[in-house]
């Protein structure tokens, strides 16, 4: 499998350069004339992109697709979801099979440059975290000195763990187990005090395990896994649309605009809100969209916190560093003016 992935990546690298300039038409125009957004999503990841019992796609990344469709067409349902596996995702974007990727993809230098992607923002700051039983009364990872930690070997997870404890002058006893089911079983049977992996993974482990309420995911994040939507490199007008659609969801949260109150906000006299809902200014024209674009995004999809609460809170994921900057997180939209 690894070899195949390497082969695919190699081919992707070779073709990325030739594929991008071949696009005569900008994606913005292509999507407009097609009347639907082709959005690459995960084949199934709880909270980020997965179909529900009725086959309707739900998740934080799926909301990203819906928001772009709402901004483009005024209809969040005009999305063609293309479920993609980890191997397929980059070629699907490069070959034009999808217009954008919203598939929990980590923004790295290599992907941004050599793979020919453009990341337009970060809709979830993932990273390695810790889960502990609630009865230990631990509130922060800094209190874990001397703990027994369940961890999977051979991944960067193990290295990050060692680095973090060393940097904080703490000691720990690792319990290293290869298979996911076994490592979680070891944690639940009480062989270790702490289980560590990416926080989104911790959240689903917690939700699937026995008595989710007896365990907490600590707010500390010890590695960087910024996940965000991506578009093809060099298609700036399209990148702008996706970027500002996402920013508008953050901006709305910051201004207290929600899907429920936006209709009242239409009559608000605050000039910033007037600009946001498209009463004044011409942001829509600058983006190549109509003036109600951000109104439609918030009305139909909601602001960032609504999307987060809908999709990730049921998994037990607290906002943590994904809170707005004014609430102590790192979510920060450049000003919309």
């Amino acid at each position: 499998m690894k070899k195949i992935a390497l082969m695919a990546a190699g081919a992707a690298l070779t073709f990325a350069a030739s594929a991008t300039p071949g696009l005569a038409q900008s994606t913005l125009e292509a999507v407009k004339s097609r009347g639907a957004l082709a959005c690459g999503v995960n084949t199934g990841l709880a909270g980020f992109g997965a179909p529900d019992s009725q086959g309707v796609w739900k998740g934080l990344d799926v909301d990203m697709c819906r928001a772009v469709a709402a901004a483009m067409f005024g209809d969040a349902n005009k999305v063609r979801y293309v479920p993609l596996t980890a191997q397929q995702r980059f070629t699907a974007l490069q070959s034009g099979e999808v217009d954008m990727l919203a598939r929990n993809t980590t923004w790295t230098l290599q992907r941004d440059t050599a793979l020919g992607l453009d990341f337009v923002g970060v809709n979830f700051y993932d990273g390695q975290g810790f889960m502990v039983p609630k009865k230990l009364g631990v509130k922060s990872a800094k209190e874990l000195n001397g703990a027994t930690v369940c961890v999977q070997p051979g991944t960067t997870t193990e290295l990050n763990l060692t680095d973090y404890f060393r940097a904080n002058k703490m000691t720990f006893k690792p319990v290293v187990i290869e298979k996911l089911e076994e490592v979680t079983a070891a944690y639940y049977s009480g062989r270790c005090d702490v289980y560590t992996t990416d926080r989104s993974g911790l959240a689903s482990t917690r939700a699937t395990g026995p008595n989710p309420n007896d365990h907490v995911v600590l707010p500390d994040v010890i590695s960087k896994e910024p996940l965000g939507p991506a578009v093809r490199h060099g298609d700036n007008r399209w990148a702008d649309v996706v970027r500002w659609t996402f920013n508008s969801m953050l901006e709305a949260e910051e201004m207290g605009i929600t899907s429920k109150n936006i209709d009242q906000m239409l009559n608000d006299t605050n000039p910033a809100i007037q600009r946001f809902v498209g009463k004044t200014g011409d942001f829509g024209k600058m983006l190549g969209l109509d003036e109600k674009w951000s109104y439609n995004v918030i009305k139909q999809v909601g602001n960032y916190s609504e999307s987060y609460d809908r999709n990730l809170s049921p998994l037990g994921l607290e906002r943590g560093i994904n809170a707005l900057w004014k609430d102590g997180g790192v979510m920060y939209s450049p000003p919309m003016r």
Binding site: G44, S53, T91
Partner: protein, 371 residues
């Protein structure tokens, strides 16, 4: 566990009850001496205990329904009783994947059409040219149902097909198209024409030398890169072609095994009658050869049916992928055992039916080779 039949001397003294054949069989085979009795009792205890714990998990302690998505009753019984409520909630998603919810009667009908086609094809009364007509009509109907766009049905692009119909489509077309191709490959490999022989050997060895996953990834990831910008071939079609090409190579070797088992005299007899190559092959060699290889053929078919689940790595929502997808909603996370049990029952039903039918066919067709 039982010793060979031991005829007891005191049959005359037994009651009429003990003389019924079943009771006598039991006494002779299971309780003939103290060792057999002990083994029988120990095994019976273990089997009953196993059955009881399965039944108490699957039936007595099972949670059949829950209020909405409140799965707490299920979670309280975790490990003790099955949560069949997850099947009640998710069975439509497992069976039909992301096909639009309100239109799911269409794939349901398609499943029944497929079953009908299988049953008709299994009956020897239909083994004539009408079978081709029936299949053509059946597949057209299935296509019309699944795609829509005619008779007032809304159009559903095949990206949204999923679940059991998708598995049946992949398996049926995989078998139906790979089988004829494999016969030509097998004949080609035994051909006297060097070019055809070389081509067949290269094809079979090349395809057989790589795993199906490689072919699927090639078809889904690499292939689009070689196409000009804007040209794209359907993802389902690419996967289907990969499955056909892959199974044809395997089936070809099975068919070749059958061809090699035909005695040389049959070929010579056909030649001496002045039959052409195609007459000889179609009327004398293939009917005998294919009949010989029914067990390995069906073995390969069953393997192919289950191999279709590998399309999960290219993001198609076949039966198994849908089952995995059904486990992702936070409220329903963690009921994998129930969902996989449900899906394995479906897979088992199809594979077991194929297996039984092939055994039946062997008996019916075995005219000259019965030992």
């Amino acid at each position: 566990m039982a010793a060979p039949n031991v005829v007891t001397a005191d049959t005359a003294t037994e009651s009429s009850f003990a003389r019924t054949p079943a009771i006598r069989w039991v006494r002779q085979n299971l309780f003939s001496n103290w060792f057999n009795t002990a083994v029988t009792l120990a095994l019976a205890y273990m089997i009953l205990k196993g059955l009881y714990s399965f039944a108490s998990w699957a039936v007595f302690n099972a949670v059949w329904t829950v209020e909405g998505t409140d799965t707490r009753p299920c979670r309280e019984m975790s490990g003790v009783g099955a949560c069949w409520a997850v099947i009640g909630e998710k069975h439509r998603f497992i069976l039909f994947g992301i096909y639009p919810f309100d239109e799911q009667w269409r794939p349901l009908l398609a499943i029944f059409l497929f079953l009908g086609l299988y049953v008709v094809s299994a009956m020897r009364a239909f083994w004539n040219r009408w079978l081709a007509v029936i299949w053509a009509v059946g597949l057209t109907l299935i296509g019309a149902l699944m795609w829509g766009g005619v008779f007032g049905l809304t159009y559903i692009e095949n990206e949204r097909w999923g679940g059991l119909p998708l598995t049946l489509i992949l398996a049926t077309f995989g078998i139906a198209l790979a089988f004829p191709l494999s016969i030509f490959l097998a004949l080609g490999r035994r051909s006297n024409l060097p070019a055809i022989r070389a081509l067949s050997i290269v094809y079979i060895e090349l395809i057989r030398g790589v795993p199906l996953i490689t072919l699927l990834i090639m078809a889904s990831v690499m292939f689009p890169l070689f196409l000009p910008e804007g040209v794209s071939i359907d993802k389902l079609l690419r996967a289907q072609v990969a499955i056909i090409l892959f199974s044809a190579a395997y089936l070809a070797e099975v068919v070749r095994g059958g061809l090699q088992a035909i005695p040389k005299g049959q070929f010579e007899a056909a030649d001496s009658l002045g039959l052409s190559y195609w007459q000889k092959t179609a009327k004398i060699i293939l009917p005998q050869a294919l009949q010989l290889v029914i067990p390995p053929l069906v073995n390969t078919f069953i393997g192919l049916f289950k191999d279709t689940s590998l399309v999960l790595i290219i993001g198609l929502f076949d039966l198994l992928t849908s089952a995995k997808g059904a486990l992702l909603e936070p409220a329903w996370l963690g009921f994998g055992v129930e969902v996989y049990f449900f899906v394995s029952v479906i897979y088992f039903a199809f594979c077991f039916a194929m297996s039984r039918y092939s055994q039946n066919l062997e008996v019916e067709l075995a005219t000259g080779h019965k030992h």
